[in-house]
């Protein structure tokens, strides 16, 4: 079995925030918080269940009654008291159910200030840690994250998603947002280094970058996603260094162009492909199935991570505080720990 990912458990409880697509809330730290949150809901759902049972019972009675009436052809007979009672009970319960459902809707207004951070998926570990620390430093502030591919996040912002901060995995997407006046004054806060991830089965065969062409099955990103673009640039530069055959030799072995870097990494860690170009932060040091081979600096390109406050932000000051916190001494340390380079 896979290790249970605590962030997943958090995400599933995230409906309290009232919006569907926020990936992780750094809010429910311990089981205790979860229980506190669940208890009132459980009470309400018990009430709802009782009302529902009443609804079922009365409706079953009514339906049976009407079936009996039609079969006996008693349409014109006056309705007995019992039926009238059942009818009114039915409608009362219906109204009660409606109210119950309305009450069960969790409070959408939180007393705390909510800072909504849209961040590239590769930032997950670093940002969740930073979020916990930020909440400690600013009591009364909830930091809520939405982790996804940068392009997906950009589309959400362009279509009116309300967020305070946008942390992008490449310059291009944020530049587009700035040009459309959705974001302002981006700053570079981290860099990420493309590396070669080699599956366990091919680890002895591929130990240096030049041996990439020995791999039988290579997985890269689609040229339109950042990691695919970087891979293409790396291969271009490698062609000048290792001869023009290098690029075509590698591209002949490409068996798939994945749509995001997590998909690429999955194919390597399952051993389906031999080698792939991913970010350094994607390869956990604890993963036994994947070996990491660095790309020489002469060939490599750096992925630049800019961050910016969004113009739709409701807490501009808080957004600015988050950006400064990420670039502070402790923020840099956390990013470094997750494998990022800091400028």
């Amino acid at each position: 079995m896979m290790n249970p990912d605590p962030s997943l458990a958090k995400a599933s409880l995230d409906f309290r925030s009232g919006s569907r697509f926020f990936g992780t809330s750094a809010n429910y730290d311990s089981l205790n918080d979860v229980r506190q949150f669940m208890e009132p809901l459980l009470g309400k759902s018990l009430l709802t269940a009782i009302l529902y049972a009443l609804h079922q019972a009365s409706s079953v009675y009514l339906v049976r009654r009407s079936v009996k009436r039609t079969s006996a052809n008693l349409d014109d007979a006056p309705r007995p008291m019992r039926v009238r009672f059942a009818r009114s009970l039915f409608w009362l319960v219906e109204i009660g159910l409606l109210c119950g459902v309305a009450c069960c809707k969790p409070d959408s207004v939180s007393t705390n200030d909510r800072l909504v951070v849209f961040a590239a998926a590769s930032l997950r570990t670093a940002f969740v840690n930073l979020g916990n620390e930020f909440e400690r430093l600013h009591p009364g502030v909830d930091v809520v994250f939405n982790f996804a591919g940068t392009h997906e996040l950009r589309t959400q912002v362009e279509h009116g998603a309300e967020a305070d901060v946008f942390a992008s995995a490449d310059q291009r997407n944020l530049r587009e947002l700035v040009m459309a006046r959705h974001a302002m004054s981006p700053v570079l806060f981290a860099v990420n280094e493309p590396v070669i991830a080699v599956s366990k089965g091919a680890a002895s065969k591929i130990t240096t970058f030049a041996e990439l062409r020995k791999a039988d099955r290579i997985v890269l990103g689609v040229p339109d996603v950042p990691i695919g673009r970087y891979a293409s640039q790396i291969l271009d530069r490698a062609a000048t260094q290792f001869g023009s055959g290098f690029r075509s030799a590698v591209e002949a072995r490409v068996v798939s162009r994945e749509l995001n870097v997590r998909q690429i990494f999955l194919k390597i860690s399952l051993g389906e492909a031999d080698a792939a170009i991913v970010y350094r932060t994607d390869v956990p040091t604890t993963n036994q199935n994947v070996r990491l081979v660095p790309v020489p600096a002469t060939v490599n390109v750096m992925a630049e991570y800019p961050i910016a406050a969004l113009s739709s932000s409701r807490h501009p000051a808080l957004a600015q505080a988050w950006i400064e916190f990420v670039r502070s001494q402790s923020g840099r340390a956390t990013l470094k720990q997750a494998g990022f380079g800091v400028p």
């Binding site: 162009r257 749509l259 399952l270």
Partner: protein, 278 residues
């Protein structure tokens, strides 16, 4: 008396309107997003996007793979459904429920399950077939993924179609000397054919829209494993307009096939005679 009757009729009428309103609400909800897909695009835009992007190879691959998976689903699914419909034991019921599981599990999980069984280090690799057959990242993998997610829809529809057959018809056919094979091929299938065709249409549509399992299990390489939904998602990274154009292509392709299948045209098919007798 008369007054109460007219009151009753009025009430019935207002209830009729309630049904219409409620029904059209859902219909509108289902139609409007697809209409929006068409309304916010223009023909010239569509044409240019289709010519520049990789839509055509993807469409060709999608049609090819769904056709193959449809053949697999029909040839293996029909006997299975007949078997399940004939057996009314508890075991067959449990099997029937388990066969619906691929509908429930998220497609991405289905993809991982396929990887764990047919992948390079999968459970079946080396046991059921030699190691040297690489299935992942090939067109075969696309077909497998589509079959996996779409077959349950057909089997479900086929089981209920076979169950709806009047058992007396089967008894009569058997008393005239129809052996099980003939009973199945010449009596049961013709009678159940409307249900079977509807099931096939559902299952084909599901296979055409298959995304998650294919992405996980087969990857995404133009011409080999990039089906239409994958092409749409890949285009979304670059240009929403192109993605929209390919989506319209997908909708049109699906609409054509579904309309043909659901139309009266199916009555001209060879087994139309048997249906009319029924």
């Amino acid at each position: 008396m008369i007054r109460s009757e007219s009151l009753n009729r009025q009430r019935q009428l207002s209830r009729h309107w309630a049904i219409t309103t409620l029904g059209s609400l859902l219909a509108a909800f289902l139609f409007l997003p697809i209409l929006a897909l068409f309304a916010t695009s223009s023909v010239t835009e569509l044409w240019s996007a289709l010519r520049t992007s990789n839509a055509m190879p993807a469409l060709r691959l999608s049609l090819k793979t769904t056709a193959i998976s449809l053949v697999i689903v029909t040839t293996l699914g029909t006997p299975l459904a007949w078997m399940l419909a004939q057996n009314r034991t508890r075991l067959s019921r449990i099997i029937e429920s388990c066969l619906q599981l691929p509908i429930v599990i998220p497609p991405a999980v289905a993809g991982i399950a396929l990887l764990l069984s047919f992948g390079r280090y999968g459970l079946l690799t080396g046991r059921l077939y030699p190691d040297s057959w690489h299935i992942t990242f090939t067109t075969t993998a696309v077909v497998l993924a589509e079959t996996f997610v779409s077959a349950p829809f057909y089997v479900q529809a086929a089981v209920s179609a076979f169950r709806r057959i009047d058992p007396r018809l089967l008894v009569v056919a058997a008393s005239f000397g129809a052996y099980p094979w003939r009973l199945f091929l010449h009596v049961a299938i013709p009678i159940a054919s409307p249900g079977l065709i509807a099931g096939l249409a559902m299952s084909w549509a599901r296979a055409l829209g298959e995304f998650g399992a294919t992405l996980m299990f087969a990857g995404n390489l133009e011409g080999t494993t990039q089906t239409l939904p994958l092409a749409i998602y890949a285009a979304l990274e670059l240009d929403m307009r192109a993605a929209q154009a390919i989506s319209i292509l997908l909708v049109l392709a699906a609409l054509t096939v579904l309309l043909i299948v659901r139309s009266r045209w199916t009555q001209w098919w060879p087994w139309g005679e048997a249906r009319r007798v029924n």
